[in-house]
Amino acid sequence: MVENIDNSKELHTWEILHGHLVNHMQERPHFMPSGRLKSRKKIDYRQVIENASRSMIRFKKPERLIKMIVRVITEQVGVNHAGVLLYRDNKRSYVLIDSKGDIGHKIPIGYIRIPQVNPLVSIFSEKKSFLFDERGVLTADNLKIVLKDKELLKKHQELKEKINQIRKEMELLNANICIPAYFKRKLLGILILGPKTSGKKFDSEELGFFVTLANDAAMAITNAQLIENLQDKVKEVAMLYEREHRLFIHTSIALAAAIDARDPYTSGHTERVTHYSLCIADELNEKKEINNFEKFKEDLHIAALLHDIGKIGIRDNILNKRRLLTRSEQQIIMKHPAIGAAILQPIRELGDIIWAVKHHQEKHDGSGYPAGLKGDEIHLMARIISVADTFDAMTTDRPYRKKKKAIAAVKEIEKQAGKQFDPEIAEAFLRAYKKGVVI
């Protein structure tokens, strides 16, 4: 919707600039002293307008529009200097952001500002109509006329003092004309113009033209600010999401560390299972079951970190037992996936991650626990963690057995494809292993 307004506004500026300047050139031949110069100037000006309007279509850079306005006014209307002051919140002032003009008359860009508390600003904010002409323009000539109006000055005692203050400000700026640019009554900026190089007065048509330009510039600035604010908001939301996600990951890492700390034999287990799981996932990015690969990996990352969280609920004497477990002890250990799922249940945001934790000990052929699920009944994340978990168990020492060599463990995974493991996942693991990314 904003884009539509932009385009129509832009066309508006273009048409007015175009029409006005063509008129100007036709009416005032003295603008072009020689025929040669005339034709050259005409081409130049068309190019300026065309280039500028092309860049303005998107309206993302109001500075360009302002530059063009200042340039066109100084060169084509013929003033000894022109400048645009825009409100800058950090300076609480109107800062000169663009200017052009004759040597010594051009006010250097960025060199001056007009503070918010200034007669020139306050008069525009007050919108006292009898100081302006009918279009809302402040002209030095008009102020002179008002000063001569004895009756008016009698009625408004403070007026004379105010006008003198404003005249002094305009004199400092060597400004004959000040044109305000508003958005919803807020003064966004001021266009200031010095005297015409021809020595003549500005005519009514010209003043109308300046007001239109100022209004278009105000619209451009406002739109650009709206877009910028919107972009900032989008960035902010993305940052908040990123922060929340990091918080989630770090909390999961802290919990995983708490599990690992209880069992020195499995120290680093969680970290490794997470790594292996993510390696497997990278081999599956073409898989149809995965809608959003980035989101899937983020979830898998957390699921892998939390897969053994249920061991928190297992007594130390069983968890740390250095000999083979008895049957009843084994049954207690086998409760850890269900305990983990129960611990995580209240965290709604975890979604499928809870299924991954609950079923990471299931087997493809249905011989696993806690539910004895088969094949695709087991969540994809659980199937992945299952392979990663088993590989780590085989390649690390346990109190009751020595570790296998990696290559032997890989062979075992291959052998169990279609039995303990989903063959597709086992295959993905083998591919990752062959690439050398696993270890």
Partner: protein, 127 residues
Amino acid sequence: MMKILVVDDERDVCDFVSNFFGLRGFQVFCALNGEDALQISKTQDPLIVLQDIRMPGIDGVETLRRMKEARPNNRVIMVTCVEDIERVEDAKKYGADGYITKPLVLNDLVKAVNDAVTKLKPNVTKE
């Protein structure tokens, strides 16, 4: 006619300030760098100096130091930026007579120069 020296490496600024004070009854000299400024200070003895603090080569503070060393009674107003806090401290040490921060308010510029003029020693202003 009161002489004023404008020192700024930006030609636009020199041109504008020259014209600005020229219209206000000063005889204005310009320098685009520290070397020229010191030279003009020596030959023309401007009593008021408007000195940009940031300049390539001999910077504003060093120009101030040398100027004040040679002519301690001349008034030097430093034109600074918000980020120049450290350099402003140095300028204070070397006896800068006033400060004005860019983007500046033209009325403040006029005031700073007028203040500097009134602070000149009476026998000097009479010449």
